[in-house]
Symmetry: C3
Subunit: 199 residues, 3 copies
């Protein structure tokens, strides 16, 4: 489980950095940048825990998450004049976070006796709701509702995970395959600019 925890923290830092960067671009002050970083990093998992009834949520039970999110946001704020150089590599860490959050959320929902649809939903929410909250606070239509294969990568991984668990595959293998699927689809989508049909 230690590798999953490590990936989780890496994803938390990457999500926080992306949130803090939106705060910088919206000309927020230091407090606003920190809030956007923390909300982006732990918002999805916190909402999941409220819905599953695991209260207080993970983010208040283990303060490592919020500490890392604050630190990552501070780093972004301090380096805000040369952040463009970090933007590209950050996408890779963000993809790692997306896959990890999906696996953690889906697995937890199954442990809490959710149905298969609910489990996939909770996994996707864990990966995406933080970014939605970030965009709502920044007063813009959430990016993932408009374009980019981001949630779709999550859904693919979540469905795969649920199918594998149902068919009796080992937990570790299922988790690795699902997370790998999310990360691969996400990176391919960035590379080839994939998108869903639009209105």
């Amino acid at each position: 489980m230690n590798i999953l925890y490590l990936l989780d923290l890496i994803g938390t830092a990457a999500f926080a950095a992306s949130g803090a960067w939106v705060g910088v671009r919206k000309h927020m002050d230091l407090f606003g940048v920190l809030v956007l970083g923390v909300v982006t990093a732990v918002g999805g998992g916190t909402l999941r825990d409220l819905l599953l009834g695991d209260i207080p949520p993970f983010s208040l039970q283990d303060e490592t998450y919020i500490s890392i999110a604050l630190a990552a946001s501070l780093v972004v704020f301090a380096n805000r004049r040369r952040f463009e150089t970090f933007e590209k590599p950050l996408l890779y860490f963000d993809a790692i976070g997306l896959g990890t959050f999906l696996v953690i959320g889906t697995t937890k929902a199954l442990e809490f006796q959710m149905g298969l649809l609910g489990a996939v939903l909770m996994g996707v929410m864990t990966g995406t709701a933080g970014g939605v909250l970030r965009d709502v606070l920044a007063n813009q239509i959430p990016l993932i509702l408009r374009r980019e294969i981001y949630a779709s990568a999550c859904i693919a991984g979540g469905v795969l995970l649920v199918v594998l668990e149902q068919s009796g595959a080992g937990r570790t293998a299922s988790a690795l395959l699902a997370a790998g699927t999310v990360i691969t689809v996400r990176l391919l989508a960035i590379r080839y600019e994939w998108g869903l049909p639009k209105s």
Copy 2:
């Protein structure tokens, strides 16, 4: 209770369609349209359950709701070029949903020992919070905060329901009268363009 469940599902589909339609008009992709449909349909009741402490909320306990919301949103997305023809009839189903949601929410809050003010609030929230979340995600000021007798129809029905229950009227009769009031006021408001005093 079966008739109430049926009306609840009709309302869920109508609310989902209205949410999906906002997504289409905001040029969201398929995922965004589905999210707006589901959030509009189950957002109010889910928030109510979080506040009452009935966790996991109804939307995760009975996956019929989210399944129907997804199906209705898909239908809207697939017919998005000729949706205008559906807009008018949809208002009637939406009014049915509003009355049903109000009755379900108020009754549930009374069962959870809320006070009378709290019960009316929970009923109104069940009927309106999904639409508020929809508008927040679509980055517009929630429609019901600005105009239309929508929440007011809910409040009228909620107060009536609480008064009837307090005065010992039968549960079924009270529910029917309250839902009928909401639906009637709502449809009259559309017909005669009623509005509250504005700032």
Copy 3:
């Protein structure tokens, strides 16, 4: 404790008035103005209670809060043409509310076994999340994410309170000192137009 309850109600009325005023300026109807008033007044504490697991939240357990928030919002709506004369004095009552909410939130989080970081966060959230929700509903970037020493006054008071409680100072003295710090910093910030570094 009675003085704390009184200050809490004063803060509730002041927060509701500020929320209702935003609703008026955004040309909302009466219902919208009431919603913004109530959400601003009880939103922060309600979110805190959901996260701590104290459900139903304070705002549904003691209906005094919502009643006062509704009354204050009605007063603002009725006097909306000459509200400018109230704006300046309202800032003082708002500062009292900020200090009181911070102390109540931080203390409650400590009682619920939160860590020190979590306790300060819950205190700051109690004081500020209502205003954030208000601005999200009014479709504007939350003011406290962009400027003004508002959250910072809260953080200073929260850290002071946690340090005092840890070092064994009396609960009443700690609460008074922390609330006084928030109020003083907030009023000085208004007077001298202090701000945090911006992006």
